[in-house]
Protein backbone atom coordinates (compact mmCIF):
# COMPACT_ATOMS: atom_id res chain seq x y z
CA UNK A 1 0.00 0.00 0.00
CA UNK A 2 1.29 3.41 -0.87
CA UNK A 3 1.74 6.00 1.79
CA UNK A 4 -0.99 8.10 0.31
CA UNK A 5 -3.58 7.99 3.04
CA UNK A 6 -5.40 11.03 1.73
CA UNK A 7 -6.04 9.44 -1.63
CA UNK A 8 -7.11 6.26 0.09
CA UNK A 9 -9.54 8.15 2.32
CA UNK A 10 -10.90 10.07 -0.65
CA UNK A 11 -11.58 6.80 -2.42
CA UNK A 12 -13.01 4.62 0.35
CA UNK A 13 -14.09 6.79 3.28
CA UNK A 14 -17.59 7.60 2.05
CA UNK A 15 -18.48 4.00 1.24
CA UNK A 16 -16.99 2.72 4.48
CA UNK A 17 -18.81 5.37 6.49
CA UNK A 18 -22.17 4.63 4.92
CA UNK A 19 -21.59 0.91 5.33
CA UNK A 20 -21.00 1.50 9.02
CA UNK A 21 -24.14 3.65 9.14
CA UNK A 22 -26.23 0.83 7.71
CA UNK A 23 -24.72 -1.65 10.14
CA UNK A 24 -24.77 0.51 13.27
CA UNK A 25 -27.73 2.80 12.44
CA UNK A 26 -25.98 5.57 14.34
CA UNK A 27 -24.03 8.18 12.36
CA UNK A 28 -21.86 9.23 15.28
CA UNK A 29 -20.93 5.69 16.19
CA UNK A 30 -20.35 4.97 12.51
CA UNK A 31 -17.98 7.92 12.16
CA UNK A 32 -16.02 6.82 15.21
CA UNK A 33 -15.90 3.23 14.01
CA UNK A 34 -14.68 4.16 10.55
CA UNK A 35 -12.07 6.50 11.95
CA UNK A 36 -10.86 3.76 14.25
CA UNK A 37 -10.79 1.31 11.36
CA UNK A 38 -8.80 3.58 9.09
CA UNK A 39 -6.30 4.30 11.85
CA UNK A 40 -5.96 0.63 12.57
CA UNK A 41 -5.50 -0.30 8.94
CA UNK A 42 -3.01 2.51 8.41
CA UNK A 43 -1.00 1.51 11.42
CA UNK A 44 -0.66 -2.00 10.08
CA UNK A 45 -0.51 -1.11 6.42
CA UNK A 46 2.62 -3.20 5.99
CA UNK A 47 0.53 -6.33 6.38
CA UNK A 48 -2.33 -5.18 4.16
CA UNK A 49 -2.43 -7.30 1.04
CA UNK A 50 -2.25 -5.69 -2.35
CA UNK A 51 -4.85 -5.87 -5.04
CA UNK A 52 -8.42 -6.96 -4.46
CA UNK A 53 -7.68 -8.32 -1.02
CA UNK A 54 -7.09 -4.82 0.26
CA UNK A 55 -10.78 -3.91 0.09
CA UNK A 56 -11.84 -7.06 1.90
CA UNK A 57 -9.26 -6.42 4.56
CA UNK A 58 -10.46 -2.84 5.05
CA UNK A 59 -14.05 -3.96 5.46
CA UNK A 60 -13.01 -6.72 7.79
CA UNK A 61 -11.54 -4.11 10.09
CA UNK A 62 -14.56 -1.84 9.63
CA UNK A 63 -16.94 -4.67 10.48
CA UNK A 64 -14.87 -5.63 13.52
CA UNK A 65 -14.88 -2.04 14.72
CA UNK A 66 -18.66 -1.85 14.27
CA UNK A 67 -19.23 -5.13 16.10
CA UNK A 68 -16.94 -4.06 18.92
CA UNK A 69 -18.99 -0.91 19.35
CA UNK A 70 -22.26 -2.81 19.30
CA UNK A 71 -20.97 -5.18 21.97
CA UNK A 72 -19.54 -2.36 24.04
CA UNK A 73 -22.89 -0.62 23.90
CA UNK A 74 -24.63 -3.83 24.88
CA UNK A 75 -22.22 -4.18 27.77
CA UNK A 76 -22.83 -0.64 28.96
CA UNK A 77 -26.60 -0.71 28.62
CA UNK A 78 -27.01 -4.33 29.59
CA UNK A 79 -29.43 -4.94 26.78
CA UNK A 80 -29.36 -6.15 23.24
CA UNK A 81 -28.92 -3.31 20.82
CA UNK A 82 -30.38 -5.35 18.06
CA UNK A 83 -33.72 -4.88 16.48
CA UNK A 84 -35.22 -4.06 19.86
CA UNK A 85 -32.87 -1.25 20.66
CA UNK A 86 -33.20 1.20 17.85
CA UNK A 87 -32.92 4.45 19.70
CA UNK A 88 -31.03 6.00 16.84
CA UNK A 89 -33.27 4.66 14.16
CA UNK A 90 -34.98 7.39 12.21
CA UNK A 91 -38.57 7.85 13.19
CA UNK A 92 -40.66 5.40 11.25
CA UNK A 93 -43.85 7.37 11.71
CA UNK A 94 -46.04 7.82 8.66
CA UNK A 95 -44.61 10.54 6.47
CA UNK A 96 -46.19 13.91 6.17
CA UNK A 97 -47.49 14.96 2.86
CA UNK A 98 -44.44 16.99 1.94
CA UNK A 99 -41.95 14.30 2.93
CA UNK A 100 -39.96 13.25 -0.08
CA UNK A 101 -40.41 9.70 -1.22
CA UNK A 102 -36.73 9.23 -1.09
CA UNK A 103 -36.63 9.95 2.60
CA UNK A 104 -39.46 7.51 3.21
CA UNK A 105 -37.65 4.88 1.19
CA UNK A 106 -34.56 5.34 3.34
CA UNK A 107 -36.62 5.08 6.51
CA UNK A 108 -38.27 1.87 5.32
CA UNK A 109 -35.02 0.27 4.22
CA UNK A 110 -33.21 1.17 7.44
CA UNK A 111 -36.12 -0.17 9.48
CA UNK A 112 -36.13 -3.39 7.49
CA UNK A 113 -32.37 -3.72 7.95
CA UNK A 114 -32.79 -3.12 11.65
CA UNK A 115 -35.08 -6.13 11.85
CA UNK A 116 -32.35 -8.33 10.42
CA UNK A 117 -29.98 -9.95 12.89
CA UNK A 118 -26.43 -8.71 12.79
CA UNK A 119 -25.03 -11.82 11.12
CA UNK A 120 -27.39 -11.33 8.19
CA UNK A 121 -27.31 -7.54 8.03
CA UNK A 122 -23.53 -7.27 7.73
CA UNK A 123 -23.05 -9.50 4.67
CA UNK A 124 -26.11 -8.00 3.02
CA UNK A 125 -24.77 -4.47 3.35
CA UNK A 126 -21.30 -5.52 2.26
CA UNK A 127 -22.71 -7.28 -0.79
CA UNK A 128 -25.35 -4.91 -2.02
CA UNK A 129 -24.08 -1.57 -0.83
CA UNK A 130 -20.30 -1.86 -0.57
CA UNK A 131 -20.28 -4.12 -3.60
CA UNK A 132 -18.02 -6.80 -2.21
CA UNK A 133 -17.97 -10.22 -3.78
CA UNK A 134 -18.96 -13.25 -1.77
CA UNK A 135 -15.31 -14.21 -1.50
CA UNK A 136 -14.40 -10.76 -0.20
CA UNK A 137 -17.27 -10.86 2.28
CA UNK A 138 -16.01 -14.22 3.48
CA UNK A 139 -12.68 -12.57 4.24
CA UNK A 140 -14.38 -9.57 5.82
CA UNK A 141 -16.51 -11.57 8.23
CA UNK A 142 -14.09 -14.46 8.64
CA UNK A 143 -16.49 -17.10 7.41
CA UNK A 144 -16.52 -19.53 4.50
CA UNK A 145 -17.95 -18.40 1.15
CA UNK A 146 -20.65 -21.02 1.49
CA UNK A 147 -21.74 -19.46 4.77
CA UNK A 148 -21.83 -16.06 3.11
CA UNK A 149 -23.99 -17.38 0.31
CA UNK A 150 -26.35 -18.96 2.81
CA UNK A 151 -26.61 -15.80 4.88
CA UNK A 152 -27.24 -13.65 1.84
CA UNK A 153 -29.99 -16.02 0.83
CA UNK A 154 -31.58 -15.89 4.26
CA UNK A 155 -31.35 -12.12 4.36
CA UNK A 156 -32.93 -11.80 0.95
CA UNK A 157 -35.76 -14.14 1.96
CA UNK A 158 -36.48 -12.12 5.07
CA UNK A 159 -36.44 -8.81 3.27
CA UNK A 160 -38.73 -10.17 0.59
CA UNK A 161 -41.31 -10.85 3.31
CA UNK A 162 -41.00 -7.36 4.74
CA UNK A 163 -44.10 -5.36 3.81
CA UNK A 164 -42.21 -2.10 4.10
CA UNK A 165 -40.05 -3.06 1.15
CA UNK A 166 -42.77 -4.67 -0.92
CA UNK A 167 -44.09 -1.33 -2.02
CA UNK A 168 -40.67 -0.16 -3.10
CA UNK A 169 -39.81 -3.09 -5.30
CA UNK A 170 -42.66 -2.28 -7.64
CA UNK A 171 -41.09 -0.79 -10.66
CA UNK A 172 -42.94 2.48 -10.56
CA UNK A 173 -42.33 3.19 -6.88
CA UNK A 174 -38.67 2.38 -7.10
CA UNK A 175 -38.33 4.39 -10.26
CA UNK A 176 -40.02 7.36 -8.59
CA UNK A 177 -37.74 7.13 -5.61
CA UNK A 178 -34.75 7.08 -7.86
Amino acid sequence: MDDDLEAWLARDYATAYRTACLVLRDPHEAQDAVQEAFLRVWRFRASVPDGDGRTAWLYRVVVNACISRVRAQQSRTGKDVGPAGLESLPDAAPPTADLAEHAQLAVDVVAALADLPEHLRVPLVLRFYAGLSEKEIAVAIDRRPGTVKSRLHDARQRLALDPRLSAWVRDDALEAAR
Partner: protein, 375 residues
Protein backbone atom coordinates in the same frame (compact mmCIF):
# COMPACT_ATOMS: atom_id res chain seq x y z
CA UNK B 1 -44.40 -12.33 -1.38
CA UNK B 2 -42.42 -10.05 -3.65
CA UNK B 3 -39.21 -10.96 -5.37
CA UNK B 4 -36.09 -9.05 -4.53
CA UNK B 5 -33.50 -9.10 -7.23
CA UNK B 6 -29.89 -8.10 -6.79
CA UNK B 7 -30.62 -4.86 -8.56
CA UNK B 8 -33.53 -4.15 -6.22
CA UNK B 9 -31.40 -4.69 -3.16
CA UNK B 10 -28.56 -2.61 -4.54
CA UNK B 11 -30.89 0.26 -5.33
CA UNK B 12 -32.69 0.07 -2.01
CA UNK B 13 -29.50 -0.02 0.04
CA UNK B 14 -27.87 2.68 -2.05
CA UNK B 15 -30.91 4.88 -1.52
CA UNK B 16 -30.86 4.21 2.23
CA UNK B 17 -27.14 4.86 2.43
CA UNK B 18 -27.50 8.11 0.52
CA UNK B 19 -29.71 9.32 3.34
CA UNK B 20 -26.60 9.44 5.55
CA UNK B 21 -24.56 12.45 4.44
CA UNK B 22 -20.87 11.78 4.65
CA UNK B 23 -19.24 14.12 7.18
CA UNK B 24 -17.19 16.60 5.23
CA UNK B 25 -14.42 16.67 7.78
CA UNK B 26 -14.39 12.93 8.33
CA UNK B 27 -11.20 12.24 6.35
CA UNK B 28 -9.51 15.30 7.85
CA UNK B 29 -10.38 14.05 11.34
CA UNK B 30 -8.80 10.71 10.53
CA UNK B 31 -5.63 12.48 9.45
CA UNK B 32 -5.70 14.65 12.56
CA UNK B 33 -6.18 11.61 14.79
CA UNK B 34 -3.32 9.91 13.01
CA UNK B 35 -1.09 12.90 13.68
CA UNK B 36 -1.99 12.80 17.37
CA UNK B 37 -1.66 9.02 17.70
CA UNK B 38 1.47 7.97 19.53
CA UNK B 39 4.06 6.12 17.52
CA UNK B 40 4.78 2.73 18.95
CA UNK B 41 8.16 1.30 18.28
CA UNK B 42 7.91 -2.41 17.63
CA UNK B 43 9.87 -4.53 20.01
CA UNK B 44 11.93 -7.34 18.65
CA UNK B 45 10.69 -10.06 20.88
CA UNK B 46 9.30 -13.46 20.35
CA UNK B 47 5.60 -13.00 19.86
CA UNK B 48 4.47 -16.29 21.44
CA UNK B 49 6.35 -15.39 24.58
CA UNK B 50 4.72 -11.98 24.63
CA UNK B 51 1.29 -13.47 24.11
CA UNK B 52 1.87 -15.97 26.87
CA UNK B 53 3.09 -13.24 29.19
CA UNK B 54 0.08 -11.06 28.47
CA UNK B 55 -2.27 -14.00 28.95
CA UNK B 56 -0.55 -14.75 32.24
CA UNK B 57 -1.06 -11.17 33.37
CA UNK B 58 -4.78 -11.35 32.56
CA UNK B 59 -5.09 -14.70 34.32
CA UNK B 60 -3.26 -13.33 37.33
CA UNK B 61 -5.64 -10.38 37.39
CA UNK B 62 -8.65 -12.64 37.64
CA UNK B 63 -6.99 -14.97 40.09
CA UNK B 64 -5.96 -12.02 42.23
CA UNK B 65 -9.47 -10.63 42.12
CA UNK B 66 -10.92 -13.99 43.06
CA UNK B 67 -8.51 -14.33 45.97
CA UNK B 68 -9.06 -10.80 47.20
CA UNK B 69 -12.83 -11.02 47.06
CA UNK B 70 -13.39 -13.66 49.75
CA UNK B 71 -10.67 -12.12 51.91
CA UNK B 72 -12.37 -8.74 51.86
CA UNK B 73 -15.72 -9.91 53.18
CA UNK B 74 -14.63 -11.36 56.52
CA UNK B 75 -12.58 -8.24 57.21
CA UNK B 76 -15.66 -6.08 57.40
CA UNK B 77 -17.60 -8.72 59.30
CA UNK B 78 -14.97 -9.36 61.93
CA UNK B 79 -14.64 -5.65 62.50
CA UNK B 80 -18.21 -5.61 63.79
CA UNK B 81 -18.79 -6.02 67.50
CA UNK B 82 -17.98 -9.60 68.37
CA UNK B 83 -20.84 -10.16 70.77
CA UNK B 84 -23.54 -8.92 68.47
CA UNK B 85 -24.60 -10.71 65.32
CA UNK B 86 -24.04 -8.96 62.05
CA UNK B 87 -26.86 -6.46 61.84
CA UNK B 88 -29.36 -6.92 59.08
CA UNK B 89 -28.92 -4.32 56.37
CA UNK B 90 -31.12 -1.33 56.87
CA UNK B 91 -33.75 -0.45 54.33
CA UNK B 92 -31.49 2.33 53.11
CA UNK B 93 -28.69 -0.12 52.48
CA UNK B 94 -30.97 -2.47 50.60
CA UNK B 95 -32.38 0.34 48.54
CA UNK B 96 -28.86 1.55 47.96
CA UNK B 97 -27.74 -1.77 46.58
CA UNK B 98 -30.89 -2.30 44.55
CA UNK B 99 -30.65 1.12 43.06
CA UNK B 100 -26.99 0.88 42.27
CA UNK B 101 -27.48 0.99 38.53
CA UNK B 102 -30.08 3.72 38.70
CA UNK B 103 -27.76 5.92 40.66
CA UNK B 104 -24.88 5.46 38.28
CA UNK B 105 -25.79 8.59 36.36
CA UNK B 106 -26.07 10.44 39.61
CA UNK B 107 -22.69 9.06 40.55
CA UNK B 108 -21.24 10.53 37.43
CA UNK B 109 -22.99 13.84 37.93
CA UNK B 110 -21.85 14.02 41.52
CA UNK B 111 -18.26 13.71 40.52
CA UNK B 112 -16.76 16.03 43.08
CA UNK B 113 -13.29 14.96 44.13
CA UNK B 114 -13.25 12.60 47.06
CA UNK B 115 -12.97 14.68 50.20
CA UNK B 116 -10.42 13.38 52.62
CA UNK B 117 -12.20 12.08 55.66
CA UNK B 118 -11.05 13.96 58.74
CA UNK B 119 -9.33 11.89 61.35
CA UNK B 120 -11.05 11.66 64.66
CA UNK B 121 -9.16 14.00 66.91
CA UNK B 122 -10.27 12.29 70.10
CA UNK B 123 -9.87 8.82 68.74
CA UNK B 124 -12.82 7.63 70.78
CA UNK B 125 -15.11 6.65 67.95
CA UNK B 126 -15.24 3.15 66.53
CA UNK B 127 -13.37 2.59 63.28
CA UNK B 128 -15.34 3.28 60.17
CA UNK B 129 -14.36 -0.08 58.79
CA UNK B 130 -16.90 -1.64 61.10
CA UNK B 131 -20.28 -2.08 59.54
CA UNK B 132 -22.67 -0.39 61.84
CA UNK B 133 -26.27 0.57 62.01
CA UNK B 134 -27.41 2.92 64.69
CA UNK B 135 -30.95 3.79 65.51
CA UNK B 136 -32.28 6.22 68.00
CA UNK B 137 -35.51 8.01 68.75
CA UNK B 138 -35.05 11.51 70.04
CA UNK B 139 -31.91 10.42 71.77
CA UNK B 140 -28.56 12.16 71.54
CA UNK B 141 -27.09 13.33 68.25
CA UNK B 142 -26.45 10.64 65.70
CA UNK B 143 -22.90 9.42 65.94
CA UNK B 144 -21.31 8.23 62.75
CA UNK B 145 -17.65 7.49 62.73
CA UNK B 146 -15.75 9.38 60.08
CA UNK B 147 -13.74 7.33 57.67
CA UNK B 148 -10.04 7.16 58.37
CA UNK B 149 -7.64 8.08 55.62
CA UNK B 150 -8.12 5.86 52.62
CA UNK B 151 -11.26 4.21 53.95
CA UNK B 152 -14.42 4.38 51.91
CA UNK B 153 -17.77 4.12 53.62
CA UNK B 154 -21.18 4.41 52.03
CA UNK B 155 -23.25 6.36 54.52
CA UNK B 156 -27.00 6.69 54.59
CA UNK B 157 -29.41 8.08 57.11
CA UNK B 158 -32.99 9.09 57.69
CA UNK B 159 -34.56 11.49 60.13
CA UNK B 160 -38.24 12.01 60.90
CA UNK B 161 -39.15 15.41 62.29
CA UNK B 162 -42.40 16.53 63.86
CA UNK B 163 -43.09 20.23 63.54
CA UNK B 164 -45.81 22.60 64.65
CA UNK B 165 -48.60 23.77 62.39
CA UNK B 166 -47.49 25.53 59.26
CA UNK B 167 -43.85 24.70 59.75
CA UNK B 168 -43.44 21.91 57.21
CA UNK B 169 -42.34 24.03 54.28
CA UNK B 170 -40.02 26.34 56.27
CA UNK B 171 -38.40 23.32 57.87
CA UNK B 172 -37.88 21.61 54.53
CA UNK B 173 -36.39 24.81 53.15
CA UNK B 174 -34.04 25.02 56.11
CA UNK B 175 -32.98 21.41 55.57
CA UNK B 176 -32.26 22.05 51.91
CA UNK B 177 -30.23 25.14 52.78
CA UNK B 178 -28.22 23.08 55.27
CA UNK B 179 -27.37 20.59 52.54
CA UNK B 180 -26.42 23.30 50.08
CA UNK B 181 -24.26 25.06 52.65
CA UNK B 182 -22.45 21.79 53.32
CA UNK B 183 -21.62 21.43 49.64
CA UNK B 184 -24.34 18.92 48.92
CA UNK B 185 -27.40 18.90 46.75
CA UNK B 186 -31.06 18.01 46.90
CA UNK B 187 -31.65 14.73 45.13
CA UNK B 188 -35.41 14.84 45.45
CA UNK B 189 -38.06 16.74 47.34
CA UNK B 190 -41.72 16.01 47.82
CA UNK B 191 -44.41 17.80 49.80
CA UNK B 192 -48.03 16.96 50.52
CA UNK B 193 -50.00 19.97 51.59
CA UNK B 194 -53.45 18.41 51.34
CA UNK B 195 -55.15 16.53 54.13
CA UNK B 196 -55.04 17.00 57.86
CA UNK B 197 -51.40 16.12 58.18
CA UNK B 198 -49.21 18.04 55.72
CA UNK B 199 -45.85 16.44 55.28
CA UNK B 200 -42.80 16.55 53.11
CA UNK B 201 -39.75 14.48 52.36
CA UNK B 202 -36.42 15.61 51.03
CA UNK B 203 -33.51 13.40 50.05
CA UNK B 204 -30.11 15.03 50.31
CA UNK B 205 -26.72 14.07 48.94
CA UNK B 206 -23.99 15.60 51.04
CA UNK B 207 -20.22 15.10 51.04
CA UNK B 208 -19.48 12.21 53.31
CA UNK B 209 -17.05 14.30 55.36
CA UNK B 210 -19.85 16.66 56.32
CA UNK B 211 -22.52 14.03 56.83
CA UNK B 212 -22.45 14.00 60.62
CA UNK B 213 -22.45 17.77 60.76
CA UNK B 214 -25.51 17.98 58.52
CA UNK B 215 -27.26 15.31 60.59
CA UNK B 216 -26.48 17.23 63.74
CA UNK B 217 -27.77 20.48 62.31
CA UNK B 218 -30.95 18.86 61.06
CA UNK B 219 -31.53 17.46 64.52
CA UNK B 220 -30.97 20.87 66.05
CA UNK B 221 -33.72 22.47 63.99
CA UNK B 222 -36.83 23.68 65.73
CA UNK B 223 -38.55 20.33 65.49
CA UNK B 224 -39.08 17.18 67.47
CA UNK B 225 -36.97 14.28 66.28
CA UNK B 226 -39.28 11.31 66.10
CA UNK B 227 -36.83 8.86 64.61
CA UNK B 228 -33.30 8.94 63.35
CA UNK B 229 -31.31 6.23 61.67
CA UNK B 230 -27.85 6.33 60.21
CA UNK B 231 -25.82 3.54 58.75
CA UNK B 232 -22.46 2.99 57.18
CA UNK B 233 -21.23 0.26 54.88
CA UNK B 234 -17.51 -0.18 54.45
CA UNK B 235 -16.57 -0.60 50.81
CA UNK B 236 -12.84 -0.01 51.17
CA UNK B 237 -11.89 -3.58 50.38
CA UNK B 238 -14.25 -3.73 47.43
CA UNK B 239 -12.95 -0.42 46.09
CA UNK B 240 -9.31 -1.42 46.54
CA UNK B 241 -9.97 -4.69 44.82
CA UNK B 242 -11.52 -2.89 41.85
CA UNK B 243 -8.56 -0.55 41.62
CA UNK B 244 -6.13 -3.47 41.70
CA UNK B 245 -8.02 -5.29 38.98
CA UNK B 246 -8.11 -2.14 36.88
CA UNK B 247 -4.37 -1.59 37.25
CA UNK B 248 -3.65 -5.14 36.20
CA UNK B 249 -6.02 -5.06 33.27
CA UNK B 250 -4.61 -1.76 32.05
CA UNK B 251 -1.12 -3.19 32.24
CA UNK B 252 -2.32 -6.19 30.27
CA UNK B 253 -3.87 -3.93 27.67
CA UNK B 254 -0.63 -2.00 27.32
CA UNK B 255 1.21 -5.25 26.74
CA UNK B 256 -1.33 -6.31 24.14
CA UNK B 257 -0.96 -2.95 22.41
CA UNK B 258 2.79 -3.38 22.28
CA UNK B 259 2.27 -6.80 20.77
CA UNK B 260 -0.20 -5.29 18.35
CA UNK B 261 2.41 -2.77 17.28
CA UNK B 262 4.79 -5.59 16.51
CA UNK B 263 2.27 -7.77 14.70
CA UNK B 264 2.58 -8.13 10.96
CA UNK B 265 0.39 -11.01 9.90
CA UNK B 266 -3.32 -10.30 9.47
CA UNK B 267 -4.34 -13.15 11.73
CA UNK B 268 -2.07 -11.91 14.50
CA UNK B 269 -3.35 -8.35 14.20
CA UNK B 270 -6.99 -9.34 14.35
CA UNK B 271 -6.45 -11.88 17.10
CA UNK B 272 -4.56 -9.48 19.33
CA UNK B 273 -7.00 -6.68 18.54
CA UNK B 274 -9.82 -8.92 19.72
CA UNK B 275 -7.98 -9.49 22.99
CA UNK B 276 -7.49 -5.75 23.33
CA UNK B 277 -11.21 -5.19 22.79
CA UNK B 278 -12.08 -7.83 25.38
CA UNK B 279 -9.75 -6.34 27.97
CA UNK B 280 -11.06 -2.87 27.20
CA UNK B 281 -14.61 -4.07 27.79
CA UNK B 282 -13.60 -5.50 31.15
CA UNK B 283 -11.85 -2.26 32.03
CA UNK B 284 -14.94 -0.23 31.10
CA UNK B 285 -17.16 -2.47 33.21
CA UNK B 286 -14.92 -2.34 36.26
CA UNK B 287 -14.35 1.39 35.86
CA UNK B 288 -18.11 1.90 35.96
CA UNK B 289 -18.32 -0.06 39.21
CA UNK B 290 -15.41 1.90 40.64
CA UNK B 291 -16.98 5.23 39.72
CA UNK B 292 -20.26 4.18 41.28
CA UNK B 293 -18.58 3.14 44.51
CA UNK B 294 -16.50 6.31 44.54
CA UNK B 295 -19.56 8.50 44.12
CA UNK B 296 -21.51 6.57 46.74
CA UNK B 297 -18.70 6.85 49.24
CA UNK B 298 -17.96 10.47 48.38
CA UNK B 299 -21.51 11.58 49.06
CA UNK B 300 -23.83 10.33 51.76
CA UNK B 301 -27.60 10.10 51.39
CA UNK B 302 -29.82 11.61 54.04
CA UNK B 303 -33.61 11.40 53.90
CA UNK B 304 -35.50 13.87 56.03
CA UNK B 305 -39.23 13.51 56.54
CA UNK B 306 -41.12 16.39 58.07
CA UNK B 307 -44.71 16.07 59.26
CA UNK B 308 -47.14 18.07 61.34
CA UNK B 309 -48.93 15.26 63.07
CA UNK B 310 -48.16 11.81 64.30
CA UNK B 311 -47.40 9.86 61.21
CA UNK B 312 -47.49 6.07 61.31
CA UNK B 313 -44.65 6.06 58.85
CA UNK B 314 -42.27 7.53 61.40
CA UNK B 315 -43.30 5.35 64.29
CA UNK B 316 -40.50 3.33 65.71
CA UNK B 317 -41.46 -0.26 65.05
CA UNK B 318 -38.29 -1.97 66.11
CA UNK B 319 -38.78 -4.86 68.44
CA UNK B 320 -36.20 -6.28 70.76
CA UNK B 321 -34.11 -8.76 68.86
CA UNK B 322 -34.42 -11.76 71.08
CA UNK B 323 -36.53 -14.82 71.62
CA UNK B 324 -37.70 -17.34 69.04
CA UNK B 325 -37.45 -14.89 66.15
CA UNK B 326 -33.81 -14.23 66.85
CA UNK B 327 -33.11 -17.94 67.16
CA UNK B 328 -34.84 -18.60 63.85
CA UNK B 329 -32.83 -15.90 62.14
CA UNK B 330 -29.61 -17.23 63.62
CA UNK B 331 -30.50 -20.71 62.42
CA UNK B 332 -31.21 -19.45 58.93
CA UNK B 333 -27.99 -17.44 58.89
CA UNK B 334 -26.08 -20.53 59.96
CA UNK B 335 -27.70 -22.60 57.24
CA UNK B 336 -26.93 -20.10 54.49
CA UNK B 337 -23.39 -19.63 55.76
CA UNK B 338 -22.85 -23.38 55.63
CA UNK B 339 -24.16 -23.61 52.09
CA UNK B 340 -21.96 -20.71 51.05
CA UNK B 341 -18.94 -22.39 52.60
CA UNK B 342 -19.71 -25.64 50.79
CA UNK B 343 -20.05 -23.88 47.45
CA UNK B 344 -16.86 -21.90 48.06
CA UNK B 345 -14.94 -25.05 48.94
CA UNK B 346 -16.24 -26.99 45.95
CA UNK B 347 -13.76 -25.28 43.61
CA UNK B 348 -10.77 -26.49 45.58
CA UNK B 349 -12.33 -29.90 45.91
CA UNK B 350 -12.70 -30.15 42.15
CA UNK B 351 -9.07 -29.11 41.72
CA UNK B 352 -7.92 -31.78 44.14
CA UNK B 353 -10.03 -34.37 42.35
CA UNK B 354 -8.54 -33.33 39.03
CA UNK B 355 -5.01 -33.64 40.38
CA UNK B 356 -5.81 -37.06 41.79
CA UNK B 357 -7.23 -38.14 38.45
CA UNK B 358 -4.13 -36.99 36.59
CA UNK B 359 -1.90 -38.72 39.12
CA UNK B 360 -3.94 -41.90 38.74
CA UNK B 361 -3.65 -41.85 34.97
CA UNK B 362 0.09 -41.19 35.13
CA UNK B 363 0.58 -43.98 37.65
CA UNK B 364 -1.46 -46.38 35.57
CA UNK B 365 0.48 -45.56 32.41
CA UNK B 366 3.73 -45.89 34.30
CA UNK B 367 2.68 -49.24 35.70
CA UNK B 368 1.79 -50.55 32.27
CA UNK B 369 5.08 -49.32 30.82
CA UNK B 370 7.06 -50.95 33.58
CA UNK B 371 5.19 -54.21 33.10
CA UNK B 372 5.89 -54.15 29.39
CA UNK B 373 9.54 -53.52 30.12
CA UNK B 374 9.56 -56.46 32.50
CA UNK B 375 7.92 -58.71 29.96
Amino acid sequence: MSTLTDDDLTRLLTAAAADHPVPERGPQEVLAALAEAPVRLPLRRRRPVQLLAAAAVVTAAFAGGALLQPAAEPASVTAAPAAAPTPAPSSEEVADRDGALDSFQLAQDFAAPAPAAPADALGTRPPAAARQTQSSAAAGPAVQAPAPDGARVVKTGSIALLVSDGRVTPTLTAVQELATAAGGLVQSAETQESGRAPSGTVVLRVPVAGFEEVVGRVRSLDAEVRAATTSGRDVTAEYTDLEAQLRTLRAARERFLVILGDARAIGDVLGVQQRVDEVTLQIDRLEGQRLLLAAQSDSATLEVRVTEADDPAVAVTEKPDDGLGKASRDAWDGFTSGVEALVAASGRGLLVLLCLLVALVVARLGWRASRRRLV
